[in-house]
């Protein structure tokens, strides 16, 4: 088992949905141990109606069973 730092980005939603999305995204990288939304940014990509999505930036430490995982991963947008 290793503990590693990851950062991900998830589109902003209402708190209940956001929490679910964050956990789901983190679980794809390991078992979430500690996480927090550490920033909010506006997506550069424009939607069809001219608006821009807001993105929650999350930093976390996850547990992975493998010894071969890359120690620090880059940002993943979910």
């Amino acid at each position: 088992m290793i503990a590693r730092f990851v950062s991900i980005e998830v589109p902003l939603k209402d708190p209940a949905e956001l929490q679910r999305s964050i956990l789901q995204a983190l679980q794809s990288q390991g078992e979430p141990l500690r996480w927090a939304i550490t920033g909010i940014k506006v997506d550069k990509e424009q939607l069809s109606d001219g608006a821009h999505r807001q993105i929650a930036q999350i930093e976390a430490v996850v547990l992975s069973p493998t010894q071969f995982a890359i120690p620090f991963t880059s940002v993943t947008t979910v």
């Binding site: 088992m1 290793i2 503990a3 590693r4 730092f5 950062s7 589109p11 902003l12 939603k13 209402d14 708190p15 209940a16 956001l18 929490q19 141990l33 500690r34 996480w35 927090a36 939304i37 550490t38 920033g39 909010i40 506006v42 424009q46 939607l47 001219g50 608006a51 821009h52 999505r53 807001q54 929650a56 930036q57 999350i58 930093e59 430490v61 547990l63 620090f72």
Partner: protein, 368 residues
């Protein structure tokens, strides 16, 4: 104090490792916790608030809950069972030098002899834990350990052989006396470079064993600094940061994992939390998101600035925003008394006819 059968319960969070102006240093949110404990029947808070190395203040109505457990509690997954005392076990990182190890053991003995705490025999990990520190892009400190398995084996030994009911971990942290981050921290500025890794260590133990746990770093003494900030000074009074951890754990509530009939009487669940007080710029934690979906009144404090910029309004969370903890205490008193805090202000707007459902905040931003 109260004839209302529902104990007024306040949760007070100052996340660790984000440079909180109040609570980002050596137990410097403890005065706020002491004040809140006067207006609440029960205060639920966490080691970062209560721990001041050699300094501590045991509040009879405060529940000392580690961050992972606090998140599980807020999510409604775990309950809290208050106790009169825990037998506290001690795990020491094999990487701690013999003299420094002895200092920690003498603190543990002193806690038994001078404070009357119950401690079990201790365990040394079967490998160095390998603490690594990291500061993320946000400015928050995180960190990991290279040998989580060694830590978990040591804790398991304490629980099964020594019958410990709560566990204090002491890991050897890197000495970086010349770094800018440490210098700033000693001057009451910047972000605690150790905090993130400390939280990861205790989270790992609580997640695995569902027992009260807290961490104290083992470090070599620093050269004396005449310009040391009062906010950081508590960590330079002695050789270890362990006394506050032992005191906190000695009465930390046990976790209750099941809501079934076997659930012990007196267990506290998230629906008992009347108010949550947090820094205004740090609303993106798991416990805040969980409690924002409940009737809990969330109070955000502007003055307690952090390295983050995650305000409640950006997340669609309704709060009462106040400037300072002094003002937050007033809101808590009003809330407890059943008053709308706005009724204490000079201007009270007239009621308006309710015409439409209040629109939910949009998470789309229109660019003009």
């Amino acid at each position: 104090m109260s004839v209302n059968p529902r104990p007024y319960t306040v949760m007070f969070i100052v996340p660790t490792g984000i440079g909180a102006a109040i609570g980002g240093y050596a137990g410097d949110a403890l005065p706020v916790a002491k004040a809140m404990a006067q207006v609440a029947d029960r205060l639920i808070t966490h080691p970062n608030v209560m721990n001041g190395a050699s300094l501590y203040w045991s509040l009879p109505n405060a529940l000392y809950v580690e961050g992972y457990g606090l998140d599980q509690f807020a999510a409604g997954s775990w309950g809290l069972r208050p106790v009169h005392q825990n037998r506290v076990g001690l795990v020491l990182d094999q990487a701690i030098e013999p003299d420094l190890r002895l200092r920690h053991l003498q603190v543990a003995d002193a806690a038994r002899a001078t404070l009357g705490l119950s401690l079990t025999d201790y365990v040394v990990t079967d490998a160095p834990l390998g603490v690594e520190l990291r500061t993320a892009d946000s400015g928050a400190t995180w960190g990991t350990i290279q040998n989580p398995g060694s830590l978990l084996r040591a804790v398991e030994k304490l629980l099964t052989q020594a019958k410990a009911e709560a566990v204090a971990i002491v890991a050897r942290f890197p000495d970086d006396p010349g770094t800018e981050a440490l210098m700033q921290y000693r001057h009451g500025q910047g972000v605690d470079p150790l905090a993130g890794a400390e939280a990861v260590i205790s989270h790992l133990v609580v997640r695995t064993f569902q027992i009260p746990c807290a961490h104290a770093p083992a470090l070599s003494p620093l050269p004396i600094d005449p310009t040391l900030s009062p906010r950081s000074a508590a960590e330079e009074l002695g050789y270890t940061f362990l006394p506050c951890v032992l005191v906190g754990l000695s009465r930390a509530p046990q976790f209750v994992i099941s809501r079934e009939a076997t659930c012990p009487a007196g267990t506290i669940w998230a629906n008992a939390v009347d108010a949550l007080v947090i820094p205004a710029s740090a609303c993106g934690g798991s416990a805040v998101l969980s409690l924002s979906q409940t009737p809990t009144q969330i109070i955000t404090v502007q003055e307690n600035q952090t390295s983050l910029n995650v305000p409640a309004e950006a997340l669609g969370i309704e709060t009462i925003a106040v400037h300072s903890y002094l003002e937050a205490l007033g809101v808590l008193v009003a809330h407890r008394a059943g008053l709308n805090p706005d009724s204490l202000r000079s201007q009270i707007p007239n009621l308006q006819e309710c015409l439409e459902t209040v629109p939910k905040p949009s998470f789309l931003q229109e660019i003009r």
